[in-house]
């Protein structure tokens, strides 16, 4: 080594490398920027189309009245209400079950046991099953086997089966992200597993669990296949009187009036799509806001 001299050349060498790195860095940034922009284009175009063509249909009456003239005019009230019911009941079933299952899998089940691994794997795969498969399962299980008939209950439970694995996976991941050291500290001071979960693990996993659940709202609201055979009807002249009745639903209504009914003015299906899109947008925005809010209060 030649002390002083090398240090100087190295310094210049390093600068040269830095310059090249800076150029690569710029290039990568531009490329990634272009890709991100490309991604935004379809979304923006969809929004513009929906607003341009569906906007004129939207009014208070559109949201609060029944369809009329063989669904070629009027509003979407029963479908809107039906979607709210279906989503609410499905979450009522899938959330407690899913969170409980996730707590068991993450906190109680022996982690290196083959059965735990099989259940984890099954859950992850179930989350990726196409919704039409859930639909057929719901038809067989709830409509036929449990004699629920085609009803709000059967359709909601089918949606619950569809959302359950995702609720489990999302909750499991948030539970796993809580540092093991927290649990160890609690156990060592004489806390039971449940005390540890209740006082330390759950409060710190709540953000992730909630976002996971909220994202399922828009998924359940948007699906057509799982409800089509199990409890959603093309058209009903009355509101359902209970969970054993059938109901209309937004997603199916959109499908019906765009493909099955002739002579529907264009703005109505676009209006329905706009409402559906609006629901998804509101729910997702809320979930992002909630995540940011809770994360700003994150404690480690």
């Amino acid at each position: 080594m030649h002390p002083a001299a090398t240090i100087d050349t190295n310094r210049f060498g390093a600068e040269a490398i830095n310059l090249k790195n800076a150029q690569v860095q710029k290039l990568v940034m531009i490329l990634l920027g272009i890709m991100a922009t490309v991604l935004v284009i379809p979304v923006v175009m969809i929004v513009i189309t929906l607003i341009q063509r569906g906007g004129p249909a939207i009014s208070w009456a559109f949201l609060t009245t029944f369809p009329s003239n063989g669904m070629t005019a009027g509003g979407i009230f029963p479908a809107l209400l039906g979607t709210v019911w279906l989503v609410a009941i499905s979450l009522l079933a899938s959330v407690p079950l899913g969170v409980a299952a996730a707590i068991y899998l993450s906190e109680y089940a022996p982690q290196d046991h083959w059965l735990t691994r099989v259940i984890n794997l099954a859950t992850i795969n179930l989350a990726g099953v196409p919704s039409i498969v859930h639909a057929l399962f719901g038809l067989g299980a709830f409509v036929a086997f449990f004699h629920l008939g085609t009803s709000i209950l059967a359709a909601s439970l089918t949606l619950a089966v569809m959302t359950l694995p995702v609720v489990i996976v999302a909750s499991w991941e948030s539970l796993q992200s809580v540092p093991q050291a927290f649990r160890e500290a609690c156990w060592n001071m004489g806390a039971t597993r449940w005390q540890t979960i209740w006082h330390v693990v759950l409060p710190n996993a709540l953000t992730g669990i909630l976002t996971g659940i909220i994202l399922q709202v828009s998924r359940a609201a948007g699906e057509t296949a799982p409800i089509m055979f199990t409890g959603a009807a093309f058209f009903l002249p009355h509101l359902p009187s209970g969970v054993m009745d059938q109901t209309m639903a937004l997603a199916l209504h959109l499908f019906t009036i765009s493909t099955q009914v002739p002579g529907v003015p264009d703005e109505i299906p676009f209006g329905v799509a706009l409402v559906l899109f609006g629901i998804v947008l509101v729910v997702n925005t809320f979930s992002i806001w909630l995540r940011m809010y809770l994360r700003s209060k994150k404690k480690w």
Partner: protein, 257 residues
């Protein structure tokens, strides 16, 4: 013989062997830990010190691959015959190598253990929190911001917070596992002073990576090496070179580590 030794020892360990699967982390350790002393454990990394502590408060129950044979008696009772293992653990405070500030306020960190035991009276909890923080030499630094997050404290303060948390259990035994690894020297000295005070009221087991820390604090010291307890003796004697095994001397003198 056993009944007499059991009654003088706070913790009495017989033929303790700890395995993880087929790997033996600690084999055939027998030693007596008398009450109101600082019992030091020294030894290089992976010699089985942490596993030893885990066997005392039955943390093997929480680790599926950890098997313990032999016996540990606490106050003369086999820890495996304690019906309520949570009560056993609450009598033994533990301090980890890296401070674990739970994501709670300073107050709630210290109040957690009394609350878990079912205490709800605010004035009583206040009292425990203040006393624990005082004993851990942290009260003066945090008394004006008890509601701010424990994890925002400095490393040294957090370690004293975990000591305060352990003390809030009103433990009979305090086990410290290499507590000074992430702590500055000044704080280390303050904590050492705290420990000298504490041993009046409780038994302290001090696992340490600093040989001189054992020399300063421990009444007796055990030397662990490769999963065996090579030597146990009066700290003074060991550091004066009165050792049965030459390796003890070599380790103390810093010839390996």
């Amino acid at each position: 013989m056993s009944s007499t030794t059991l009654s003088v020892s706070k913790i009495s360990v017989r033929n303790l062997t700890i395995r993880y699967g087929s790997f033996t982390a600690l084999s055939d350790v027998s030693l007596e830990i008398p009450p109101n002393q600082v019992f030091g454990i020294i030894g290089p990394a992976n010699s089985g010190k942490t596993s030893f502590l885990n066997a005392i408060n039955r943390m093997d129950m929480m680790r599926s691959n950890m098997q313990v044979t032999g016996s540990v008696h606490f106050n003369g009772v086999d820890v495996r015959s304690w019906r309520n293992v949570y009560a056993l653990r609450s009598k033994i405070g533990v301090v980890f190598p890296l401070p674990v500030g739970l994501p709670l306020s300073i107050y709630d960190n210290v109040a957690l253990s009394p609350r878990l035991r079912g205490l709800t009276d605010k004035t009583q909890i206040d009292e425990i929190v203040e006393r624990s923080l005082r004993r851990a030499a942290l009260w003066d630094e945090v008394k004006d911001r008890l509601t701010s997050l424990g994890s925002l404290l400095s490393g040294g303060q957090q370690q004293r917070l975990t000591i305060a948390r352990a003390l809030s259990q009103d433990p009979e035994v305090l086990m410290l596992d290499e507590f000074s690894i992430a702590v500055d020297p000044v704080t280390t000295m303050r904590i050492e002073d705290v420990l000298k005070e504490l041993k009046q009221q409780m038994t302290v087991i001090l696992v340490t990576n600093l040989v001189q820390q054992a020399n300063r604090l421990a009444d007796q010291t055990a030397f662990f090496l490769d999963g065996r307890c090579v030597e146990v003796g009066e700290t003074r004697a060991l550091f004066d070179g009165q050792v049965r095994d030459q390796r003890t001397n070599d380790y103390i003198e810093g010839r390996f580590g």
